[in-house]
Structure formats: structure tokens, C-alpha cells
């Protein structure tokens, strides 16, 4: 079937530095794909290029058939691509509810603010933030802020949701909750692109993993296969990790 998102030959440079080097990949509808790689590999940049925050220097990006390479971020958002920020970016002076309402209003297709507010309330419920609705976003804990990011993204009614290290900084318990949430999002048929440092998360949720290294895509395939791949071990996981994994029998 036709891929939801298709990236062909995308390259992105920042002055000298090549952050993305001729990337090719495709996401099928409903898939959950993990994206891993060392710090500075280009993961966030890839997200930024897809969402139009940065313009790709070369290559093309198509979303459900149409090229979005030249679109502005707000158009892309309205087309159905949502993302969370690695460094969470709420509107600090607004309440949690207002934050999500805004999302529902501008890309969630809500007809009126009132309608958007109802939708928002529902999304907060879903993300377990209902009781925090009245707080200013700045008052949330890190975990709370990450959930808010999720709620906002959902409010966009996206076809594709890109999660940039939503679990970073969460403790095991919080991570488990987050994973359930992600799972239930996936059940709605939303395609998920999962950027992670935490192998545990990747191995538990993703069906497929893509590895970036120095802006190059060095592996793309089923989780187990990729994680045992020589180059990946070399570049990212490191020998010791591999050994431990072998030991733990993952």
C-alpha cells in the first residue's frame, strides 16, 4: 500500500555541518517506527525538516501522496503531522486547558473556541491531565509537561505523530504509563514515529527501528535484527551494551 510519509534523498546542512545526509525512508499507515542514534545524529533535525521548521537542502518529502517540502509548519500541522518537542515547549502563561484548546482550534478543525475547548477537555482526559486543566502550564512537573505535549499533539487530530524523546527524564513508573498512552494512541490508527534513547522503550513499542549516525541512515529494519547489527553496535550501542543485551537475552 502507499506509504503515509515518504522521504527521498533528504539532505540538510547547517553551515559546514551536514546534519542529514541523503536520507531515504518511508512510513506505512498505522506503523510504529523507532528512530535511534547518538546525540547529534540528526534525529531532531529530521523531525524539524519533516515539520517544515527547517527546509531540506536536497531531496523531497511527501505526505499521503503530496509533497510538503515547501510548506510552512502551520500548513503541515493542519495536514495532519504532529510532533512533540524534545525540549518541551508549552505556552507557559496559558492554562493547560488553553494550551490544548489552541491546538484543537488551529489545526484540530474545531469550528469555534467553545468547541475547541470541549475537544481539548476530552484530550486532557485521555492523557490523564483532566485534574490539572486549570493550572498554568509552567506549573506542571516534567512528566506533566510531557503529557501536555502529547495532549496538544493529539488535539491536532494527526495522521502522523512524531514523539521526540517523550520519555527522556521520566522515571520507570512514569515511562510505563507513557508507554500505555502511546499504545492506546497507536490503537486509534495513528502512525507513530518514536525518537528514543531508551532501548527499553524502543524494544517494547516499535515494530521497526531506524538508526541515524552522523546524519546518515545506517540501519532500517525489525528491532531485534537492527539491534544486533554490527555497524549499529559500533556506531551507537557500543560493545558493552551489546554484551549486556546478549546477557539479558533481549
Amino acid at each position: 500500500m502507499r506509504p503515509l510519509l515518504e522521504i527521498t534523498g533528504v539532505t540538510k546542512r547547517f553551515r559546514g555541518l551536514v546534519a542529514l545526509d541523503n536520507i531515504n525512508l518511508a512510513l506505512a499507515p498505522g506503523e510504529i517506527v523507532g528512530l535511534i542514534g547518538p546525540n547529534g545524529a540528526g534525529k531532531t533535525t529530521l523531525v524539524n525538516v519533516i515539520t517544515g521548521v527547517h527546509k531540506a537542502d536536497e531531496g523531497d518529502i511527501t505526505f499521503s501522496g503530496r509533497s510538503i517540502k515547501r510548506e510552512r509548519p502551520d500548513r503541515i500541522a493542519r495536514l495532519g503531522i504532529a510532533r512533540t518537542f524534545q525540549v518541551v515547549q508549552p505556552f507557559p502563561a496559558m492554562t493547560v486547558l488553553e494550551n490544548v484548546t489552541a491546538a484543537a482550534l488551529f489545526a484540530g478543525g474545531a469550528a469555534s473556541i467553545a468547541e475547541a475547548r470541549d475537544a481539548a477537555a476530552h484530550h486532557l482526559e485521555f492523557c490523564g491531565l483532566a485534574d490539572q486543566a486549570g493550572k498554568p502550564a509552567s506549573a506542571l512537573t516534567l512528566a506533566g509537561r510531557k503529557r501536555l505535549e502529547l495532549a496538544k499533539s493529539l488535539a491536532l487530530r494527526p495522521k502522523l505523530l512524531m514523539l521526540d524523546e517523550v520519555n527522556a527524564g521520566l522515571n520507570p513508573a512514569e515511562i510505563d504509563n507513557a508507554l500505555e498512552l502511546i499504545a492506546s494512541i497507536a490503537n486509534r490508527g495513528i502512525t507513530i514515529f518514536l525518537i528514543e534513547h531508551l532501548m527499553k522503550v524502543v524494544t517494547r513499542t516499535a515494530q521497526r527501528v531506524i538508526v541515524l549516525h552522523h546524519g546518515r541512515l545506517i540501519a532500517d529494519g525489525p528491532v531485534a535484527q537492527v539491534l544486533s547489527d554490527e555497524t549499529v553496535v559500533e556506531a551507537y550501542l557500543g560493545r558493552r551494551f551489546a554484551e549486556r543485551m546478549a546477557g539479558a537475552g533481549i
Binding site: G40, G169, R240, M245
Partner: protein, 239 residues
């Protein structure tokens, strides 16, 4: 066992009303390398910021060479022999490598000669920097920048060097090189407290390891002991 250089007791740190470090106890001994590991957001950087005076702790003590510096200014920490290589290097745009290094010695009173001597020492510790001493520091590759940042820290002639995210964004090869250098640095008498994402590297580099989780120092022990106990790592490092 050599004497205690840094003794941290019951430290609590917050950003405004967001408390992040709930209880940190940690000891660094003269001439040793201590590693601090833990998942993202565990509070490692925050702890380090408190240990260099960037953040004022809510509670707890930071005793260095017998003096409690909790709440003192970054200058006092520098003057008491603590240098901090921050997460993300934070080199100064518009200044050459040379100038960045000289700034490292900003608080030193022991005269130009000594400083110049140390400069030369840095340049042979990190030959790559010698080649690029006139280049705008922030235009160098990540690895070179990390070297420059560490060298800048060492220029303060510290008794204890704090390094945050040593290997962040660096190619494994570069990391190995850095590890070598840091062994030399310690051999020259300075002690190190290193925050490191990559457990493997941490274990290889350090004599003693602390594990931090949700703002608490939960475990510590000699590297080999920790390394042997994979359950600990499984529990706290999500691996």
C-alpha cells in the same frame, strides 16, 4: 585510601519552585575519578550546577577542603579549586581557542608565567587545539569543542574538574581519545567528577561510580563492583 576533597551531604536543588534534586550525598577523594550516571533528567547536571555555584541549593552542605561552600558564588567555587565543564561545552562565539583558554585562567593570581606554562601544557595534552589556536572556538567540530572546553576548565588549575556529558555527541573514537587524556590529567594530580550517559565509558573511566535516579543518589561503589552487578544497571539505566 586518599583524603576527601569534596563532601556533599543531603543536597537539595530546585529551579524556582521545581525541585529537581531531592537528596544527593557524594564524596570525591583526592586524585580519583568519580563518575555520576543516571537516566535523562535524573538531576545530574543540576547537581553539578549546584557544585559550581551556578545554582543555590535549598538545603545541604558542599564541603571542599574543610569549607562549606553551599550557596557561595561561582567565583568562590573557582577560587576554591573547582572548575565546571558544562553540558554542551558553552564555548564563547567570537573568541579564538586561545582566548577561550585564557579566560579559563580568569581568576588565577599566580602570574603570567604560570598561566603561559599551563597553556603550553594544554596544547600538548590536546595537539588538535594547538593547530587551531586562532580559530573561532565555536566553529570547530564537536569533539574539538569538547577538548577545548575541558582544556578551558583545566586552565583554572582546579583541584577538582567537573565534566557534564563527557561523550555527548562525540564519535566513539574521539571518546576513547578523551578517556586517555583524562587518565593523564588525573595522573597530573587533579581529581575528576564526570557525568556520563554511556555507562560503559563511565565504568571504564572512573574509580568510583554514583548512580542518580529521580534526583537522588541511590547507589554507589567502586566501578568494578557496580559493573559486576547488571541488575543495578537494568534497574536504573533502562538497559
Amino acid at each position: 585510601m586518599s583524603g576527601i576533597l569534596l563532601d556533599v551531604q543531603g543536597l537539595e536543588v530546585a529551579y524556582g519552585d521545581v525541585q529537581v534534586v531531592w537528596s544527593a550525598d557524594l564524596v570525591v577523594r583526592h586524585g580519583t575519578t568519580t563518575a555520576l550516571i543516571g537516566s535523562n533528567g535524573a538531576g545530574k547536571s543540576t547537581l553539578l550546577r549546584a557544585l559550581s555555584g551556578l545554582l543555590r541549593p535549598l538545603r545541604g552542605s558542599i564541603v571542599i577542603g574543610g569549607r562549606d561552600l553551599a550557596g557561595a558564588s561561582p567565583r568562590d567555587f573557582v577560587d576554591n579549586g573547582i572548575a565546571h565543564v558544562p553540558e554542551g561545552r558553552r564555548l564563547f562565539t567570537g573568541l579564538s581557542v586561545h582566548d577561550n583558554l585564557l579566560l579559563g585562567a580568569y581568576r588565577r593570581q599566580d602570574g603570567k608565567a604560570a598561566i603561559r606554562a599551563d597553556l603550553e601544557r594544554m596544547y600538548d595534552l590536546f595537539p588538535r587545539l594547538a593547530e587551531r589556536r586562532r580559530q573561532d572556538a565555536t566553529t570547530m567540530s564537536g569533539g574539538e569543542q569538547q577538548m577545548c572546553a575541558i582544556a578551558r576548565g583545566l586552565m583554572a588549575a582546579p583541584r577538582l574538574l567537573l565534566i557534564d556529558e563527557l561523550s555527548l555527541g562525540l564519535a566513539p573514537a574521539v571518546v576513547d581519545q578523551l578517556v586517555e587524556t583524562l587518565h593523564r590529567v588525573r595522573a597530573d594530580g587533579a581529581s575528576l567528577l564526570v557525568v556520563e550517559q554511556d555507562v560503559g565509558i563511565a565504568l571504564e573511566l572512573a574509580d568510583h561510580v554514583y548512580i542518580m535516579d529521580q534526583g537522588r543518589t541511590v547507589r554507589n561503589g567502586p566501578s568494578d563492583v557496580i559493573a559486576a552487578d547488571s541488575s543495578i544497571l537494568a534497574a536504573y539505566m533502562g538497559t
